[in-house]
C-alpha cells in the first residue's frame, strides 16, 4: 500500500511538474459571442495542451466587430499575443506594419489546402486558414425551369449575355420584386469581397497587381468603365435595389422577393432548409473568366512572440482534418482540403453544398495582396455605393483610382 501511495504521489508530482514546465502561449481569436465556434477552438486548445508538455495555449476571444481595432491597439501598446487570427486580405497590412512574423510550418501539410486559405506575403507564408468562404449565385431549380433558363455549370458558366437574359426573364415574369439581390444591405468588406470579382471578370481590378503601385488603368480603364456601367445599370434598369433593408437581405429570397441572390456559403444552409430545390450557381463570366472572392480568417504568429516555434506547433496541430471538418459542420464553413470535406455533412461529394468547395477551388481569386488593401477596400466600397446611387461612372472610378494611388505613394509603395 505504501509503495502504491508513493508511486501515485510521484506520478502526480511528475504530472504537475510537466504542467508547470509548459510555456504559456497567448492567443487572440475573433469568435467571442459565437458559441459553436468558441467551443471548437477551445476543444482544439485543450487537445493541444494535453498532447504535449512543452506549450500551453491560453485563449482570449474578442467580438469580431472589435477585433481588428483591438489588435492594432495591442500592437501600439506592445501587447500582442503569440498567436492571433487575421482576416486574409488584412494579413499583408499586419505583416508590413510589423504585427506578424512569417509562419514556419511543414509546407507539405498544407499542400492540398485551397489556395485562398494560404496567406502569402512577399513570398513568405504568414497565415493559414482552417476554412474558406465562397459566394454563389443562389436561386431555385424551379425558378430556372419556370423561366426556361439553362443551368450553368463550373465548366460552362453563364456568359454576361446569358446572365442579363436571365435577369430580364425574371423581371419580365412579374413574379419578383427584383430579379437580383446583390446584397446591398451588407456594407464594409462585403463590397470588395463580393463585388470586386465582377470587376475582375470584366478585366479590371481594384489595383494594378503587376506592380501594386497604382490603381490607374486597373480601376478606371476601359474594362473597369464597362463594369461600372453594367453595375449602375443593375439599379437604374430596375434589376436590383440600390438600397436595401437588412431584413430583406436576410429574408428576402426566402420570401420570394428575388429570383437570384448573390450570397455566401454561410447563408446556404438556411436557404436549403427553406427551399430544398435551392441551387448554387457559379459566377457568370463577364469576359475574363468567372471569379469569386476568397480568403477568410487565418491563423498566424505575432511579431512580438518570443516563442514562434510553439505558436507554429499549435497552428500545425490545428490543421488536422478532424478540426477542419468540425468547423465546417459547426458553422457551415468550407473545409480547406478534399479529405476534410469528405468528412463533413454538407461538403462531402454529393453533399448539398459540395459545389461551394469546387467554386473555391476553381473560381476563387484572393483580394489584392497588398498592405494598402485596407484603404483600397474602403475606397472601392464608396465608389460602388456612389455608382449604385447614380454617380457618374467615369468620374467616380477616376477619383477612386486617384485616391488609391495617392495612398500608395503616401505610404512609400507599401513595400512593393
Amino acid at each position: 500500500m505504501k509503495v502504491f501511495t508513493f508511486a501515485a504521489s510521484a506520478a502526480i508530482l511528475a504530472w504537475a511538474s510537466a504542467a508547470q514546465a509548459q510555456t504559456t502561449l497567448t492567443m487572440w481569436y475573433h469568435g467571442a459571442g459565437n458559441e459553436v465556434e468558441s467551443k471548437i477552438i477551445n476543444q482544439i486548445i485543450a487537445d493541444f495542451n494535453a498532447s504535449q508538455s512543452e506549450w500551453k495555449v491560453e485563449l482570449q476571444s474578442f467580438p469580431q466587430a472589435a477585433y481588428n481595432d483591438s489588435v492594432v491597439a495591442g500592437a501600439l501598446a506592445g501587447n500582442l499575443p503569440d498567436i492571433l487570427d487575421v482576416d486574409g486580405p488584412v494579413m499583408p497590412n499586419w505583416a508590413w506594419a510589423g504585427y506578424m512574423q512569417p509562419l514556419t510550418i511543414d509546407e507539405s501539410k498544407i499542400a492540398d489546402f485551397l489556395p485562398g486559405t494560404k496567406g502569402v506575403w512577399n513570398g513568405q507564408l504568414y497565415s493559414i486558414g482552417l476554412w474558406d468562404a465562397a459566394v454563389a449565385l443562389v436561386t431555385r431549380q424551379s425558378y430556372l425551369d419556370e423561366l426556361g433558363l439553362r443551368t450553368p455549370t463550373l465548366e460552362q458558366p453563364w456568359t454576361k449575355d446569358e446572365f442579363m437574359a436571365a435577369l430580364d426573364a425574371a423581371k419580365a415574369s412579374g413574379k419578383f420584386e427584383y430579379a437580383f439581390d446583390p446584397g446591398m444591405a451588407w456594407t464594409g468588406e462585403w463590397y470588395p469581397y463580393a463585388f470586386s470579382p465582377f470587376l475582375q471578370s470584366f478585366g479590371g481590378d481594384i489595383v494594378d497587381r503587376s506592380t501594386y503601385k497604382t490603381a490607374e488603368g486597373a480601376l478606371n480603364g476601359d474594362a473597369a468603365m464597362a463594369f461600372g456601367e453594367w453595375w449602375q445599370g443593375l439599379f437604374t434598369n430596375g434589376y436590383a435595389p440600390a438600397t436595401q433593408d437588412p431584413a430583406d437581405r436576410d429574408g428576402g429570397f426566402a420570401a420570394g422577393k428575388y429570383a437570384f441572390s448573390w450570397n455566401g456559403n454561410w447563408a446556404a444552409l438556411n436557404t436549403l432548409q427553406q427551399f430544398p430545390d435551392t441551387v448554387f450557381l457559379p459566377a457568370p463570366d463577364f469576359g475574363n473568366g468567372p471569379k469569386i472572392g476568397a480568403a477568410s480568417w487565418q491563423f498566424g504568429v505575432s511579431a512580438r512572440s518570443q516563442h514562434p516555434e510553439g505558436a507554429a506547433a499549435f497552428i500545425e496541430f490545428a490543421l488536422q482534418d478532424q478540426y477542419l471538418a468540425d468547423f465546417s459542420n459547426g458553422i457551415g464553413l468550407i473545409p480547406p482540403t478534399p479529405t476534410a470535406a469528405a468528412m463533413t455533412e454538407h461538403y462531402k461529394p454529393g453533399g448539398a453544398m459540395a459545389g461551394f468547395f469546387e467554386l473555391s477551388a476553381q473560381q476563387a481569386l484572393v483580394r489584392p495582396v497588398t498592405p494598402g488593401y485596407v484603404v483600397q477596400a474602403k475606397v472601392f466600397e464608396k465608389a460602388l455605393a456612389d455608382i449604385a446611387n447614380g454617380a457618374d461612372v467615369a468620374d467616380t472610378l477616376d477619383a477612386a483610382a486617384d485616391e488609391i494611388t495617392a495612398d500608395i505613394e503616401k505610404n512609400g509603395g507599401y513595400g512593393h
Binding site: P63, A73, N79, P246
Partner: protein
C-alpha cells in the same frame, strides 16, 4: 365671460398636455420598442418593425432572448464591470473636480486664471485625438499592488478609472456653480476661523446638491457609454464593459432579439441611477433652499 375664459384655460391645458404627451412619447417609443422587441423571436421582430405591432407585446412572446443573451456573452460580468468602473469614477470625479472648482473659485493663488483657461481649453479636444498617446502612456505606467511593483496598466480596472477622474467639463460645472454661491458665507466662515477644508466640507458641499447630481449624471453617462478606450486597453474578457460586450451580438447573422434583450438589460442601471439622482436632485433643492 368667466365661463369662456375657463373654457379657454381648459383648452389651453388640454393642448399643452397633448403636446407634452406627444414629446414624451417620442422619447419613450424607442425604449418601448427595445423592450417589446426583446421579447420576440428575431423573425417576428423584423416583421413587426414595419408597423405598430413593434410597440406591443403581441405574437410569440417569451424571455428566450434573455436566456440566449446570457448564453452568448458573460452579461453579468460586463454589467458588473461597467457599474464598478462608472461608480468609482463618478465618486472620485465628484471629489476631485469639486475640490478643484473650490480652489479655482474661493482660494486666491497665483496662476489660477491661466490654469483654468488651460483646463477649459481641453474641452475642445476630442478624446480620439489623445487616445493613442494615452494608450502608449498607460501601457508603461508602474503600479504598486499585491504583486509588488508591476509595469503597465492594461487589462485592469484602474486603467478605465484613473484617466477619467478629472476632466475639464466637470471642473467647469463646479466652477460656474460655486461662483453663484453667496460669497458672504465663505467670508464669514473665514472670519470665524474656519479652514478651507472645513469650508469645503461643511458649507460649500452641503449647498452643492444640484450640481453634484448634475455632474454625477453627466459623468455616469459618459463612463457607462465608454467604448473606444476599454476596447483599446482591455484584451481580457474579465475587464470588458457593457458597450464592448454589445459587439458579441453582432455576428454574421445578427440575432436582433438577443441584441434588444442585452440592450434592455444594460439600460436598467442607467435608468436606476438617473431615477435615484432625480429624487436626490429635487430633495437637494428643497433642503438647501437654493433657488435657480
Amino acid at each position: 365671460m368667466a365661463v369662456i375664459s375657463s373654457d379657454n384655460r381648459g383648452l389651453r391645458l388640454a393642448v399643452r398636455y397633448a403636446v407634452l404627451i406627444l414629446i414624451a412619447l417620442i422619447f419613450v417609443f424607442p425604449l418601448v420598442f427595445m423592450v417589446m422587441s426583446s421579447l420576440k423571436p428575431s423573425q417576428q421582430l423584423l416583421q413587426d418593425s414595419a408597423n405598430l405591432r413593434a410597440f406591443l407585446p403581441v405574437g410569440d412572446i417569451s424571455l428566450n432572448n434573455y436566456f440566449a443573451a446570457f448564453q452568448r456573452a458573460p452579461v453579468a460580468t460586463f454589467v458588473f464591470n461597467s457599474v464598478l468602473v462608472t461608480g468609482v469614477t463618478v465618486l472620485f470625479s465628484l471629489l476631485v473636480c469639486s475640490a478643484a472648482g473650490f480652489a479655482f473659485v474661493f482660494v486666491k493663488w497665483k496662476g489660477r486664471e491661466t490654469l483654468l483657461a488651460i483646463l477649459l481649453a481641453t474641452l475642445i479636444l476630442p478624446f480620439e485625438t489623445i487616445a493613442i498617446p494615452m494608450l502608449l502612456m498607460v501601457a508603461h505606467l508602474p503600479w504598486l499592488g499585491v504583486d509588488g511593483l508591476t509595469w503597465g496598466w492594461l487589462n485592469s480596472y484602474r486603467v478605465q478609472i484613473i484617466p477619467f477622474i478629472a476632466d475639464g467639463l466637470t471642473v467647469f460645472l463646479f466652477v460656474q456653480y460655486f461662483k453663484d454661491l453667496p460669497g458672504e458665507l465663505i467670508e464669514a466662515a473665514r472670519v470665524e476661523g474656519a479652514s478651507w477644508g472645513q469650508i469645503y466640507r461643511k458649507i460649500v458641499m452641503p449647498l452643492s446638491g444640484p450640481i453634484l447630481a448634475t455632474a454625477a449624471i453627466l459623468k455616469f453617462l459618459v463612463m457607462y457609454n465608454q467604448y473606444l478606450w476599454p476596447l483599446m486597453v482591455t484584451q481580457e474578457e474579465g475587464y470588458r464593459p457593457v458597450m464592448v460586450g454589445l459587439q458579441y451580438f453582432f455576428q454574421l447573422n445578427v440575432a436582433w432579439g438577443e441584441v434588444m434583450a442585452y440592450l434592455s438589460l444594460i439600460t436598467v442601471p442607467v435608468l436606476a441611477f438617473y431615477l435615484y439622482l432625480q429624487r436626490a436632485f429635487i430633495a437637494s433643492i428643497a433642503s438647501t433652499g437654493v433657488k435657480g
